[in-house]
Point group: C2
Chain length 342, copies 2
DNA sequence: GCAGTTAATGAATCGCATG
DNA sequence: CCATGCGATTCATTAACTG
């Protein structure tokens, strides 16, 4: 554990013994050695099983866990029945019901502890949550990674239909980022966004340059010839949600836009790096990682998620291999990959 | 206390006895009974002294406490000395150095506990912080007001000169809001912002209206004659910081823009309501409250803050009265206001 | 092809009906 | 009486269609 505040979260029974993680091993289902890997199974066991291979080698972990909404989520598929209205088919995808915030935080905590060991020294972890739990998750994460390792709270601002409520419309999610080692030089590629309208008006696209007088005081700025690449990317990102009828949409609930992952992966990893997504869902992370030339591992418990991701990667022409977690059979040598006959 | 999660913050010594608040009473310094009141003194004592008067009567508390920056802040004043460069004069304004997050949170906690009792049932508390402490403050506030009372995390997105750092630029503050009673109808006036460009393009300014078929399925939307007032205000606000040479600027450090307070006060209180700002600073809350016809009380320990606010309100032609906190003299009857001879 | 129009529906939220 | 569900609300976005 990193250096921690002495301010911690506490709840009844927190200090009790933690349940042992059921030991699993990975069985290859399809594909050969590929830069992109899908693993079907509970991420807790899978992370433990992959620890020997991945320890210290992961540049970026992006986690999009359930948001503690106390709901079940379904995948929507549409079948066009020739005649007029297409039929909507609902398939259960994942269950976000919990017996209390304690159990939610405990579950997330055990994953974060396992993930920390996989990070390379220049790596970072990004947890995608919403403002209903982000604050608790932040305090939890500070305890695991150390408060000095906290690097950014990124606000994803989106637009959606308004709800009638005597409150400000909730239109943002939160991405919390910690670095593996606050003293190491972090993986970070500077990305840029468009200059503010007011800046364009006053300065145009030329770079501004501060001008100092003899005494060291700033006198004014001047416009340079060289065009500015834009402003260095901030921590508030305005990115559209995937339109209900958008091409990108897979029907998997809670799907994240590729534009969001492009920023996360583009800024926080480099080509050839390993990116890890323990809550794979519809496979947006894998899809974007492949597009940007990263290696990646995605995990999900849900066979619906695995199916959606498999089809998505195949449709995009991405080479990938697929594994599944199976309970360790004590009779045979552990850790050995068994070939699965299809 | 409201109903709470069983997830709490804990730190060594937290359960120990809390220091007693030094008892003070208010002494009138200037002005007669006014809708706007300035009180010079430590807000903890002042809140306790004003409790009998304000209990259950405050519609909105806006707090802009120090941000745990571990710095001292100074006021900048410029004196134009006839000749060329104006002289900058620095006056210490407030001290934001703490011996640990625990002491910061303890201090804030005692204020929030006092404030809770002053709120009317439809009232709310808004705490302005930044993402370095917001998460701890949120967990603390949930404990005091109850997690069900948490209403909004508002993100104030501003634009500033970018810093050279291998990280996303920090360009947001956070406003946390709790309501006094989650079951009561809250004070809330719906404010609107401009429609998204894509909406304007597709729909124009007409309201959209859902159209359903016989089976209850939504078929499509149609544009109505009635113009939409815009989209109901969200929880991410893009508001400029006060320009370094802006007319609004008082020179007081950490001054907040009036536009921010216009939204907070406009949405969460009504004309005639009492608005309270225990960390008054340069008096933005009082200034905006006066402009919007609210009654208001501002408190600050710093005589620089009180001076800046006094000049600011006077310059704006706002009638106000001013008090100061003095230790209770046990010899004379307590609670009685003493007239101060200037 | 390109521009303008129409269709479809979503990590929402409240209130009221229904068991 | 409490839990659950569905109707009503109406912005944002892209696909598909039309001229």
């Amino acid at each position: 554990m990193g250096k921690s505040w002495s301010v911690l979260l506490s709840w009844p029974g927190r200090t009790g013994p933690e349940a042992a993680v059921p030991e699993v091993e990975l069985e290859r289902v399809a594909g050969d050695d590929s830069a992109i890997r899908i693993v079907h199974g509970d991420n807790e066991g899978v992370l433990q099983a992959m620890a020997p291979e991945l320890e210290g080698k992961v540049s970026l972990v992006y986690l999009d866990p359930p948001f503690f909404t106390m709901r079940e989520f379904e995948r929507v598929t549409r079948r066009k029945s020739g005649t007029s209205p297409p039929v909507r088919i609902l398939t259960p995808a994942f269950d976000d019901r919990w017996c209390g915030l304690e159990s939610y935080l405990s579950s997330l905590r055990s994953r974060l502890v396992l993930l920390r060991k996989l990070l390379s020294p220049h790596g970072s972890v990004v947890v995608h949550v919403d403002p209903r739990t982000s604050h608790y998750v932040k305090v939890l994460g500070d305890e695991i990674f150390g408060p000095d390792a906290f690097a950014s709270e990124i606000v994803w601002r989106y637009r959606r239909w308004p709800a009638r409520t005597p409150n400000f419309q909730r239109v943002h999610d939160v991405l919390l980022r910690w670095v593996a080692d606050p003293c190491a030089a972090p993986r970070f590629t500077q990305l840029y966004e468009e200059l503010a309208p007011s800046t364009l008006k006053t300065w145009g696209r030329g770079k501004q340059k501060a001008v100092f007088d003899g005494t060291g005081r700033r006198r004014r700025s001047s416009t340079e010839q060289a065009p500015s690449p834009g402003v260095p990317l901030g921590d508030v990102w305005e990115i559209s949600i995937i339109a209900p009828v958008g091409r990108e949409r897979t029907g998997y609930p809670t799907q994240k836009p590729e534009g969001l992952l492009e920023r996360v992966i583009g800024a926080l990893s480099e080509p050839g790096d390993i990116v890890l997504d323990p809550y794979m869902g519809s496979g947006t992370t894998l899809s974007v990682a492949a597009k940007l030339g990263r290696r990646a591992v995605g995990m999900d418990q849900s066979h619906v998620a695995v199916g959606v991701t498999r089809e998505r990667l195949a449709a995009a022409g991405v080479q990938f291999s697929e594994f599944r977690a199976v309970p360790v059979q004590r009779q045979q040598a552990p850790g050995q990959l068994r070939r699965h006959a299809p």
